[in-house]
């Protein structure tokens, strides 16, 4: 029976019947999980099995030829293998793991989960592999009495929530002949926003917003001040005089005096299904934020008053991500 097959078989057992190590420990942003010895499994790898076969052949040769030095070399390699098993175990035992953060993403992108691995040992740990159920992994070494952050970028295909779930921490150090592993359930969740649709103009503002629409058309932007240049700023807004005076790239900022408030309404979107419409809304939100507009969001059963800035964008995107969830 292959090692992988054993893993999955153990996983299928009802929790009560699982060996102790399978009653996973939990880690979260608040809770640190420590990989205790009893929860660490260790088994030979496929390469390990091949190596044992080689050792067995060497032993048979030594016996057959009654060759003392062949015995010595075979036994020495065998002993080294056994000691390497202890090293493998030691490389993983008492490792601390904690969630340090999770980043939301758009559908089709990757949700990033940051984990902090802490090594209290006086020895460096090598090649610690963290892997979630879908096979996304990251490898890290941790210096003695140090910690390191690893990031698991989990692909998110569907809008909603993305969870990291159970991860397997494993290591084959030092010789790759044994693999020690332990499971940790990481309580980590982040949002997956809808995939923004292709660029499309902002919706016409109707329903008592005609007034604002007019102001928008007039485009009576007033000069507001300067700020440092960001890539993507329109060249028309760059203060070329400042550049000529060697003050660097500075962008002129304009503010709409009467600050037209945009409303993005579920009913303004067109599309065959919910996801398309949400994608449309997502695109508008991003564009509006990009243009530093004030905007509000109207969804069936929920209204977010107009506001501006990063927080507003996140609030709105979160509503889109969780749209349709029965809460």
């Amino acid at each position: 029976m292959g090692v992988t097959a054993l893993h999955s078989w153990l996983d299928k057992l009802p929790p009560r019947l699982r060996p102790r190590g399978i009653r996973y420990q939990a880690a979260s942003a608040k809770q640190t999980a420590t990989l205790r010895g009893k929860r660490i499994f260790i088994l030979p790898t496929k390469q390990g099995m091949v190596f044992f076969t080689v050792l067995l052949l060497m032993l048979l040769g030594a016996i057959n030829y009654s060759n003392s030095m062949a015995f010595v070399l075979t036994f020495w390699l065998g002993s080294v293998t056994l000691v390497s098993m202890l090293y493998t175990y030691r490389n993983l035992v008492n490792l601390d793991i904690k969630l340090s953060g999770a980043e939301p993403c758009f559908a089709g992108g990757h949700a990033a989960f940051h984990l902090i691995l802490t090594n209290h040992q006086l020895r460096q740990r090598f090649d610690i592999d963290a892997r979630n159920a879908t096979g996304i992994n990251a490898v890290a070494s941790i210096a003695r009495q140090d910690h390191t952050q690893i990031t698991l970028a989990v692909p998110a295909s569907q809008r909603g929530r993305s969870q990291l779930g159970r991860i397997t921490l494993s290591s084959c150090y030092p010789l790759g002949l044994f693999r020690a592993w332990a499971y940790v359930d990481v309580e980590a969740e982040t949002l997956v926003y809808p995939h923004p649709s292709d660029h499309s103009p902002l919706p016409p503002q109707g329903q008592g917003s005609g007034e604002r629409k007019q102001t928008h058309e007039e485009g009576s932007d007033d000069f507001h001040g300067f700020r440092a240049y960001h890539p993507g700023d329109s060249p028309r807004h760059i203060n070329w005089k400042a550049l000529a005076r060697e003050h660097g790239l500075v962008t002129k900022q304009f503010q709409r005096h009467q600050s037209p408030e945009l409303w993005f309404d579920w009913h303004d979107t067109r599309g065959a299904d919910i996801e398309t419409r949400l994608s449309q809304l997502c695109r508008w939100l991003l564009d509006a934020d990009n243009q530093q507009q004030r905007y509000g969001l109207r969804l069936p059963g929920e209204v977010l008053p107009p506001a501006q800035g990063k927080n507003q964008l996140e609030q709105c995107l979160a509503r889109l991500a969780l749209f349709g969830e029965s809460t």
Partner: protein, 658 residues
């Protein structure tokens, strides 16, 4: 650390890998046929350049063709794929092929496994101390590479070398326990390849001119002897091997009767005290065991035949140790008819002049002893020369050519023509081959008998005396039996010179070194290489383990190994105490020394304040205290400090005596 994972072998890693694999196959290069050696080295160099220059690696078709080509080449070269030699060649070449397609770090493991296996095959050729040391060092390098190349962490090779050394050191006790306790079986479990024992030298059971002089060029040890009591004088140290009856005038063979089992071990009548000794025979892939002329007792390792020759039922393929008792003065009994017939047999129509000489000796002699004496006198008085490289005997009557024309020969020429002469004179005679002499190793007080001591002599049967050893070589070159030949000093074609003691100090020192080395080798052979079923039983018995009950022994074996592994586990897994900073440790010692004099450092007192207080109390210590405090502050708080300063600091604290 959490960067992109590098899986492709870079130039530096490849160089290390190739160096490791090169050292792995290095001792095999002389065993391999030239084409294979060149190919193996060539592939390695090509792979190195390919990494350096980013060459394309060959595609699957080329690799398949290469594999087939190599298989065929090895088969054509050796006629087989499974022998020792062909197997080794195949392994080395297949490792080369694996190297050709090596790209990823994970492929390295397969190469490593092959390299480990190749390492062990070296011991099928030789198990000397230098080779063993070399192989163990390469094993260390391979384990380091194994660790270095399979890890994704880009740490320096130095680190892997250190870790691998740690692994091996921790594994050492376990290895020793397994070596001592793992049950040893006698003999092979299954058949060995035919060439398994190729290259073992030793005496054959046939003798032709040049056979023994060929052996005489070899310094290889044939066997070592430890006498229980005082050793017999050199002239009596004849080590009996195969006895040869039948000849065609040139070659000698044991004759067909050797294998008749119904002959009883003959009774010996002896004159002097017995000589007991232990022989450690080097494997020579033949059945006979060498014993001091003549053996009295049979041994567990072989039986004594009619001709007082000790033969083993199995070919000697491992170092064999046997205890014997011999008598150097003896009387053999009556001569059976079959032996008389064999002992007088001469090839027809060959060597007519030898035959004539024998006939005339017979007519002129008063007694049989007189015939022998006359023949020996002829060798002594006429210009016979003892030479390691005598002229070839091309004639159809080689004995005639030797006795009457060339008169230059080695022991086999003398033994052969003398025996024929005796037969012609009507005295039953036979040729005995074996070794003569032996060099004392005073370091461990044993004798070394080398291949170059190989010898051939004659035995004649005289009424009232039985079989009597006659060494015609001794008549020509009496020194031969007193000293051994030193062939290393010998040029081709020169007459043999004998080992004359050198007066030079250097030569003596050299000889002493050689003897010391041989003593070490002997112990290595006896205790390490010769550790077989018998030695194991002895050793375990001495350890107080009951060796008769294998079941309890197996339990104890598991218990010992398990216990040892538990100890190693504890050593590896119990976390180390946090190391105290050596600077702080030394400073604390300084404080303790002052505390004994009543000067206690306060809880929150800085080193400088404490020093001030000490100086106020004990002005005579000012200088020392200042130095120590200054060094302490520097070592603790300065960014840069050298090991030399630390040493100096430690030293000052040690010397500080308030």
């Amino acid at each position: 650390m959490n960067g992109p994972v590098i899986t492709v072998l870079d130039q530096r890693a490849m160089t290390w890998l190739l160096a490791g694999l090169g050292l792995t196959i290095l001792p095999h290069l002389i065993n391999l046929p030239l084409w294979a050696a060149i190919l193996a080295v060539g592939i390695g160099m090509w792979r190195w350049l390919a990494t350096r220059r980013n060459w394309h690696l060959p595609n699957n078709t080329i690799k398949l063709l290469l594999t087939l080509g190599l298989l065929i080449a090895v088969f054509v070269n050796y006629g087989t794929l499974v022998g020792r030699e062909s197997g080794t060649a195949l392994l080395v070449l297949m490792m080369g092929l694996k190297l050709v397609e090596l790209r990823q770090r994970r492929d390295v493991l397969v190469l490593m496994f092959m390299a480990y296996f190749i390492l062990v095959t070296h011991f099928l050729y030789s198990q000397t101390i230098p080779l063993a040391a070399y192989v163990m060092l390469v094993a260390w390098l391979l384990i380091s590479l194994h660790m270095h190349l399979t890890s994704l962490d880009q740490r320096p090779m130095r680190h892997s070398l250190r870790s691998a050394a740690g692994l091996m050191l921790l594994g050492l006790p376990l290895m020793l326990a397994l070596f001592v306790l793992f049950p040893r079986a006698a003999g092979p479990i299954w058949g060995l390849p035919k060439d398994a024992y190729a290259g073992m030298t030793g005496l054959d059971d046939s003798m032709s001119p040049g056979a023994i002089s060929h052996l005489s060029q070899s310094d290889a040890v044939a066997f070592r002897v430890k006498f229980d009591g005082p050793a017999p004088p050199p002239a009596k140290r004849y080590w009996r091997g195969p006895v040869l009856w039948s000849t065609d005038g040139r070659n000698w063979n044991p004759g067909p009767q050797l294998r008749q089992p119904d002959w009883q071990t003959p009774e010996l009548a002896w004159h002097d005290n017995s000589i007991a000794y232990t022989v450690t025979l080097e494997p020579h892939n033949r059945n006979w065991l060498f014993v001091l002329d003549l053996p009295a007792t049979a041994s567990e390792h072989g039986r004594i035949g009619r001709e007082y020759q000790l033969t083993s039922s199995k070919k000697v393929r491992q170092r064999l140790k046997y205890h014997m008792v011999s008598y150097t003065d003896y009387l053999t009994g009556e001569l059976p008819e079959i032996e008389r017939r064999l002992g007088l047999q001469l090839p027809q129509d060959s060597n007519p002049r030898t035959f004539e000489l024998g006939q005339s000796l017979r007519q002129n002699a008063r007694s049989e002893i007189n015939i022998v004496e006359q023949a020996l006198a002829m060798f002594r008085e006429q210009p016979f020369v003892y030479s390691l490289s005598p002229p070839l005997l091309t004639s159809n009557d080689p004995s005639d050519q030797f006795l009457f024309e060339s008169r230059t020969g080695f022991c086999e020429h003398y033994a052969s023509s003398f025996t024929m002469l005796m037969r012609a004179a009507g005295i039953p005679a036979r040729v005995v081959t074996g070794y003569q002499g032996g060099e004392l190793n005073p370091v461990d007080d044993y004798y070394i008998v080398r291949q170059r001591d190989a010898h051939a002599w004659a035995e004649v049967w005289l009424a009232g005396q039985g079989w009597v050893r006659i060494d015609p070589t001794a008549a020509v070159a009496p020194e031969r039996v007193e000293r051994s030949i030193n062939t290393s000093l010998l040029g081709a074609g020169e007459a043999v010179r004998f080992n004359v003691p050198h007066s030079e100090l250097l030569a003596k020192a050299w000889q002493q070194l050689q003897l010391n080395l041989d003593a070490i080798n002997n112990r290595w052979n006896q205790w390490v290489l010769g550790y077989g079923p018998k030695q194991q039983a002895e050793f375990l018995h001495n350890l107080g383990l009951d060796i008769t009950d294998w079941r309890s022994l197996a339990w104890k074996f598991l218990l010992i190994i398990g216990g040892l592994f538990a100890l190693i586990t504890a050593f590896v897994l119990i976390p180390r105490q946090k190391q105290i900073d050596p600077v702080l440790k030394s400073y604390q010692r300084f404080c303790r020394k002052l505390a004994r004099r009543g000067l206690l450092r306060g809880e929150n007192e800085t080193a400088t304040d404490f020093a001030k207080r000490v100086k106020a109390n004990r002005p005579e210590l000012s200088e020392q205290v200042d130095r120590i405090t200054a060094l302490y502050s520097h070592l603790r708080y300065a960014n840069k400090s050298s090991d030399k300063q630390l040493l100096q600091f430690k030293q000052r604290v040690i010397e500080f005596n308030p």
